[in-house]
Symmetry: C2
Subunit: 393 residues, 2 copies
Amino acid sequence: MSDLQSVLVVGTGLIGTSVALALREHDVDVLLADRDARAVRLACEMGAGSPWRPGEHAEPVDLAVIAVPPHFVAEQLKSLQERGAARHYTDVASVKALPITQAGRLGCDLTCFVAGHPLAGRERSGPTAATADLFLGRPWAYCPTEETSPDAVETLLGLIKLCGGEPVRVGAEEHDRAVAVVSHAPHVTAAAVAARLAEASDTALGLAGQGVRDVTRIAAGDPVLWTGILSGNALPVAEVLEAVAADLTAAAAALRRSAAQAAEAGGAAVSDGSEAPSDAATAGEELAARGVPPAMSWVTSLLKRGVAGTGRIPGKHGGPARAYAVVQVIIGDRPGELARLFHVAEEAGVNIEDVRLEHAPGLPLGAAELSVQPQAAAALTEALRAHGWHVPA
Amino acid sequence: MSDLQSVLVVGTGLIGTSVALALREHDVDVLLADRDARAVRLACEMGAGSPWRPGEHAEPVDLAVIAVPPHFVAEQLKSLQERGAARHYTDVASVKALPITQAGRLGCDLTCFVAGHPLAGRERSGPTAATADLFLGRPWAYCPTEETSPDAVETLLGLIKLCGGEPVRVGAEEHDRAVAVVSHAPHVTAAAVAARLAEASDTALGLAGQGVRDVTRIAAGDPVLWTGILSGNALPVAEVLEAVAADLTAAAAALRRSAAQAAEAGGAAVSDGSEAPSDAATAGEELAARGVPPAMSWVTSLLKRGVAGTGRIPGKHGGPARAYAVVQVIIGDRPGELARLFHVAEEAGVNIEDVRLEHAPGLPLGAAELSVQPQAAAALTEALRAHGWHVPA
């Protein structure tokens, strides 16, 4: 691991300033540059480093971190290399093939450059949103090419370590396909669902629950910023969107076939709901028993693929998704209500792994869903009830 | 408002048993029926009422609540009416045109039936997940037809009031279009995004963040249950899915055109990142300055429609979405950490409106995002810092 002593950060937005703050906590010398002088001044005031004045710094720094939008990375790299600004270079853009390809075309020295991408962000942007903790425990992808020198990789690994990130070595194309699936295409899809809400009736919005809120939350992100990101990963994102669109088109076709089949059957329910179900009923039989037309089986298979997909998302602490028990409790909308609730959990020796609040529209009441280790659920339920909380059975 | 004294609940799942529990809190006589005798026994043990024995109950009850899957509602209504079981009837299915149409075809008496749909649910199902609080402050859609008698509507409004719901009068077709937009189509879309995760590499899953988790959360729901719901609302859901698919297909085409335009431009970045931005720059100029090809403007417009759609979702307490300030604080994964945090907020007189926990994978540290009234953010930040919490600037 190389001993990082001096770093130049070019671009003092959220990510660049956060890198600088993390390095300052380890007493690394940090120089800061941005096309916006105010952003540099703000970052300096936050203790992220001191302004870079190219003429005054004859010695190259150990590493330059290029923290500018994807389409600017290669030009910056070229310009910095021409000045001999650093011994090694990296970037933090959320796409990786584009800057590497452009850098090659511009004739940059690719032996001392390793493309990188810390998987961290916040809904706020700019230097004032920066924090030294931003990368703690987060994956930090890095993409050496055949030309990259081992020294350059060692230097970047030193940076990731000082920032508290978890290095993930991955090829640039594989990286871009991966973020297309887990970030870029979901963002566009959320926007397409949210776009339906823009056209919908007030009545429809009045019936909105937690589900559609979750599905569309990320669609509130900055359209200009996201256009830049998507543009830099255009083909991998297009492929995923086409696959999603194909599934939705096929689902719509199956639903229309199903409606036609139901109309042919005269709209009659097929089965007598008063009969006891057979314990041996398969899902298909169960559906037929509910009068669901056969064309719906395609939709069922899509929903099953969806369940399989959600099951693959890693859980807390990066391991496989853990099955927590969820304890629901009804809470009032008064100051201190949650404090008392967590205090009771603490006294019972129960660690709350996650919490989700759902407020009941129109009333000062809501439900808190507390995720805990399965073996702790009974103790928490008992403790909450003993203190007068309503925990539904 | 009619004075509800006796109610028959047919179907003692989550919704039916919750209705029964709410009615029992107001001392309404409740009779329970289900094709599954065990479900009735469980509901009775929970205090939801007593078993319905058709031969023994000569007098019709005030209201029968048909809480069975959509495709069974009409048959149940027919059968109950033939027995003279109740003076008025309603159902709770999540689609409304299907049961009304089927009931008409079966020759049911539609003067004494009002279709209904409480917008409430939980991730757990069955009678043991039921709670009298389930409908508190939630919308409860009801769909009278031209045939419906005013008495039947009054009776249903009495039920909704006793359950604590908020009645929303809406036509059956409008209801079905509304839930297609805010619930059914988002569910299928979430499944289509999650289906991509089922095919993705382990590397891709390792780079998953909070965004894709939110988008796909509801896709973990029971495929068989959801197939029944979607089948009962096939055409409205198909229409919304086709609109989503059309947007995604167009977005993919724009991305492919954008990639072609970038290739024609030789992959060169268009602008010098070291220049200061013009304050007067429009979004389009900003994008061009980033070297983003013109074909991306279609994607930007979709993202903007998405932002507009998310802005229409009503916020807490049913009003327009309120803009809370978000205070982020770094927390450790120890018992009592959140209790202490909420305790500090309480002492500072700050009510935490919402909380989102994000755990850092691989480390016992995470970020809590606390939503508070904007004027309370400074006080909360100060109080947390005074007690040693790390609150990023």
